[in-house]
């Protein structure tokens, strides 16, 4: 009764076959990652040093360091975060906690979904039109960051919304029954519970755009200054030119980019 029949044996063979197949596919996925990482570490490892990180590129970006790019990325991401996170989290809190199920909420949801689906070249053009030209920020980190902020806004909203909605409704009801207002409930119970999810979403989203060259290149390229952030000669700290607007008188007297070192 417990001996393996032919059917059993066939089933077991199929089972093993599929296990091996799926395992092989998984391994196949990991191999490229390992190759890339390996090449990076082996070929690039010896070059990374403090010098590399903190000096300017020379000889038309074929030698020297990556300091301006590093600094530029830091500035870009910080300002984009500053612009998109408060706005995104606030919008998500409104949609999750306050909004009723009416036509306005539906329009807002539609707008967010559409914003997420806009191709990045359109974002780039919008950034150029709105920030570089209309607000006259010029090609600056500010314009690029704001464009990036608009790109990351829908993702911040959606991930915050998901974190907020994963807080059980019973908690909110318990607080409301106690006489707490909506904001008191959010502040004391809902937000602290959802904060880890919100932060995870933000971190994941923020690490993505600057690292996605083909897609994010256009928004950043169109609206930001050439690779070397210009240091304002009047400031000691390596402030890049956050805003290339300057009073007309000094427009002609700006120093060309490569000769200005951030530390001068």
């Amino acid at each position: 009764m417990f001996e393996a029949t032919t059917q059993n044996r066939r089933d077991r063979r199929t089972q093993t076959l599929f296990r091996v197949l799926f395992g092989a596919m998984t391994v196949l996925l990991i191999i490229p990652v390992l190759i890339i990482l390996g090449t990076l570490i082996v070929k690039g490892g010896p070059i990374v040093s403090i010098n590399f990180l903190f000096t300017n590129p020379t000889h038309g970006m074929t030698a020297g360091g990556i300091f301006p790019a590093l600094l530029g990325t830091v500035w870009l991401v910080s300002v984009a975060l500053l612009a998109s996170v408060p706005l995104g989290v606030a919008a998500a809190i409104y949609l999750s906690e306050y909004a009723g199920d009416n036509w306005l909420t539906r329009i807002i949801n539609l707008a967010i979904i559409n914003l997420a689906g806009v191709p990045s070249i359109v974002h780039a053009l919008f950034g150029v039109g709105a920030f570089v030209l209309f607000f006259e920020f010029g090609t600056s980190i500010l314009a690029a960051s704001l464009t990036l902020a608009i790109m990351t806004l829908p993702v911040v909203i959606v991930s915050t919304l998901q974190s907020l909605q994963s807080v059980p409704h019973a908690f909110r009801e318990a607080c409301w029954n106690m006489g707490a207002t909506r904001w008191q409930t959010i502040r004391k119970v809902v937000l602290p519970n959802a904060i880890s999810g919100i932060l995870t979403g933000i971190i994941l989203e923020v690490s993505a755009p600057p690292a996605r060259p083909p897609r994010s290149c256009s928004p950043v390229r169109c609206s930001s200054p050439p690779f070397c952030p210009r240091a304002c000669s009047t400031r000691p700290w390596p402030w890049p030119c956050i805003c290339s607007w300057s009073p007309p008188r000094s427009r002609t007297s700006r120093r060309p980019c490569p000769s200005v070192s951030p530390w001068s």
Binding site: A170, C175, W176, N177, M178, G179, T181, P192
Partner: protein
């Protein structure tokens, strides 16, 4: 059996009066034509099978229907002499009424913060005062001995019975005039149920209690007067002892009390 030391509630003033209450969800009637009154310092039981409208009734009392989409309430609910709909500050109204839910809810704060939440919302900041309030509420809810050494542990990690007592402690910290319990014992073990029932018998001296339960014997043990809800209507209200002795007016009540359905 209602305890022998229960104060006579026949002459007590009315705390809550409900006149012709009608509740509908998206147009579908859930409860209609409810007329009853609850006197001070009594335990008022509400029994009935599922879907009778008992929970909706409780929601209408502290205006939680406003937080539920599609729920419409008509009729008058007079609490403490004032129409509940006319209270401009609905949060003040809700603070006077404590609620205990069927499923235990331990908020994801420390046990201390769970009980101190209501006083903090009311503006009490002094740590010493909060300590006193927390200890007193946990004592009265019969939970102090079990948590006094771990007040900073998370409230949502307590056992079900402990969380239910924590909910009661939270409700007590509001210093409510009325406490509403909605089938508090369904997710709780029998020992904790007995402990909570003892707590309720003590609490009746300070506040009024409305006890919704699907355990007929629980109503018999605790309630002074009992109302029988069936399919969206309040069929009968009467003195608990009298009802269980058989002095019922409606045959459906008799059938339910005898366990023939429900």
């Amino acid at each position: 059996m209602v305890a022998a030391d229960a104060p006579s509630t026949a002459a007590a003033p009315t705390l809550l009066e409900v006149r012709d209450l009608r509740i509908a969800y998206h147009g579908e009637t859930a409860l209609q034509g409810v007329n009853l009154e609850v006197r001070e310092h009594e335990i008022f039981g509400i029994i009935g099978p599922a879907n009778a409208g008992k929970t909706s009734f409780l929601k209408a009392l502290n205006r939680m229907d406003e937080e539920t989409a599609g729920m419409s309430v008509h009729g008058e609910v007079v609490f403490g002499g004032r129409d509940v709909r006319r209270w401009r500050n609905v949060y003040a109204l809700r603070r006077r009424i404590g609620v205990v839910f069927p499923l235990p809810v331990g908020l994801p704060l420390s046990v201390y913060d769970n009980v101190a939440l209501a006083p903090r919302l009311a503006g009490i900041r002094d740590r010493a005062e909060l300590d006193v309030i927390v200890e007193r509420c946990l004592e009265r809810a019969s939970l102090w001995d079990e948590v006094k050494d771990r007040l900073s542990s998370l409230g949502s990690l307590l056992s079900g019975g402990q969380q239910q007592r924590l909910t009661i402690a939270r409700a007590l910290s509001q210093e409510p005039q009325m406490l509403m319990l909605d089938e508090f014992s369904i997710a709780v073990d029998p020992v904790t149920t007995m402990r909570i029932e003892d707590v309720l018998k003590e609490l009746r001296h300070e506040m009024t209690i409305i006890l919704v339960t699907n355990l007929v014997q629980q109503a018999r043990r605790l309630a002074d007067r009992t109302a029988f809800f069936l399919e969206g209507a309040c069929v009968e209200i009467g003195d608990t002892e009298a009802l269980f002795r058989g002095e019922v007016q409606d045959p459906r009540t008799r059938a339910y009390l005898e366990g023939r359905f429900g």
